[in-house]
């Protein structure tokens, strides 16, 4: 357990000093929000209906960009290989990388969600707990898949494109569920339909996180 915290601390300190992943994520997400908001200027209803979808698409691409940069930083000067040589379990390594990525996504959404609300003129009626729940479950899914695929593709050529190409099919159900849950709750409809999408997100989060923890050992092996 101690190794998990030291790994997480190392990732956070490195990111705080290097500022290579998080600013890029926020910038990319912000640009997508601005472009979307300006393109649909005047189409208020369409914008409001699509705001949730665009928020999650922006989160996905920003997450993949951040992950790619984070693993690229880890690959510098043989650091990743040294990390694998320490007597720590692959599960611990996976969970630490997952946690740092999930934190980055949470930070990203703290910026992106208000930005989408303002640019899309959404009258946000969702209760705070529902907002937190959907955001947390969606972030867990994206971070769980992204961490595993990021580790797999990070040593390869064109790792960024590969990461998106492999992660996107796996996260399509998550993006659909999160987008619909966001659309419903932003209209204040935390009803049975919303619960269905949220439950689906929870199931995917549990599956992806468990699969990542178990399979990471094989992913990082030579």
């Amino acid at each position: 357990m101690a190794a998990f915290w030291w790994l997480l601390q190392k990732d956070l300190v490195t990111e705080f000093r290097a500022r290579q992943s998080w600013p890029t994520m926020v910038l990319l997400g912000g640009v997508i929000a601005m472009v979307f908001g300006l393109q649909l200027d005047g189409l208020t209803e369409t914008r409001q209906a699509l705001a949730g979808t665009m928020l999650w698409i922006a989160t996905f691409f920003a997450a993949m960009t951040g992950l790619d940069r984070s693993f690229a930083l880890e690959r510098q000067d043989g650091c990743w290989e040294c990390l694998r040589s320490y007597p720590i379990s692959s599960t611990t390594l996976y969970l630490a990388k997952f946690a740092s990525q999930a934190l980055a996504l949470a930070l990203l959404q703290v910026v992106l969600t208000p930005l989408f609300i303002v640019l899309c003129h959404v009258a946000w009626q969702a209760p705070w707990w529902a907002t937190l729940l959907v955001a947390a479950l969606g972030n867990v899914c994206l971070a769980a898949v992204g961490t595993m695929i990021g580790a797999l593709t990070s040593g390869m050529k064109h790792s960024g494109g590969l990461l998106v190409a492999v992660a996107l099919p796996l996260t399509v159900p998550v993006l659909l569920a999160a987008a619909d849950a966001t659309r419903l709750m932003s209209a204040g409809q935390c009803d049975s339909a919303w619960w269905r999408w949220t439950n689906l997100l929870a199931v995917f989060a549990a599956i992806y996180l468990s699969a990542g923890a178990v399979l990471f050992e094989f992913v990082v092996e030579d």
Binding site: A2, A3, W6, L7, K10, V13, T14, R17, A18, Q76, D77, G78, C79, E81, C82, L83, R84, S85, Y86, P87, I88, S89, S90, E217, E221, D222
Partner: protein, 227 residues
């Protein structure tokens, strides 16, 4: 000081990259308290052999044993081995002290701060302990990388061209360190292109040629296949 039971043993190691044989049925043993110098031309497979011995790269065939235990990616046996590769494994945005502290914590060592301070002092790096690794000179980073690889005091030490890029003072420091390790009964294998260093430090010299390992008896006798 040399014991009969090998600290490290490789049996029938073979490795291929893109259809080319890099290692061909290599058999190799390293006794406790022994220093073996590994030589060979560029691309002969020295780095691959050292990585296989450290089980960083899994060979296509063959086995490696550390003190009689099969090598494994995870598990307590990993602590027996230290590999200092070309790449230092240092995080550029962490300071020298933080890099060593992180390595000590990952190895689960007692008193990691004291260990880090000890190695900073031993590597003559106390003055630049709180500088980011990225701001250190190449030679200093190399010393720090060696300290990182040795901080858990492994009993089997594998070094890939450790003298390359070191100035005279750093090379003398490393020589003293390796000889001290030999006195402590640790097993060492290092690769080098410098035959004078190989002769000066190595109890045995071996040469990797087209994937085959040859033992070089002292002073240029005709090479023979290593046992």
């Amino acid at each position: 000081m040399v014991s009969s039971r090998p600290a490290l043993q490789a049996v029938d190691l073979s490795m291929r990259y893109s259809g080319r044989h890099v290692l061909r049925s290599v058999n190799f043993a390293l006794a406790p308290g022994e220093i073996v110098a590994l030589t060979g031309e560029n691309g002969a497979g020295k780095t691959t052999l050292l990585r296989c011995l450290a089980w960083r790269t899994r060979p296509h065939t063959g086995d490696v044993y550390w003190h009689g235990e099969p090598a494994a990616h995870n598990g307590p046996g990993r602590a027996m081995v230290g590999l200092a590769a070309h790449e230092t494994g240092l995080y550029p945005y962490l300071t020298a002290r933080e890099n060593l502290l992180f390595a000590a914590r990952m190895h689960g060592l007692d008193q990691p701060s004291a260990k880090a301070a000890h190695w900073l002092s031993a590597a003559h790096m106390s003055a630049c302990a709180d500088q980011p690794a990225a701001s250190l000179s190449k030679g200093t980073r190399q010393r720090l990388g060696l300290a990182r690889a040795l901080i858990h005091e492994p009993t089997i030490l594998l070094l890939d061209e450790p003298f390359a890029g070191l100035d005279a003072r750093s090379a003398a420091w490393l020589t003293d360190l390796l000889l001290n390790y030999r006195r402590q009964g640790r097993a060492l294998c290092f690769s080098t292109h410098d035959l004078s260093v190989a002769h000066a430090l190595g109890d045995r010299l071996i040469r990797l040629d087209r994937g085959c390992l040859q033992e070089l008896p002292a002073h240029g006798a005709r090479p023979s296949r290593a046992a």
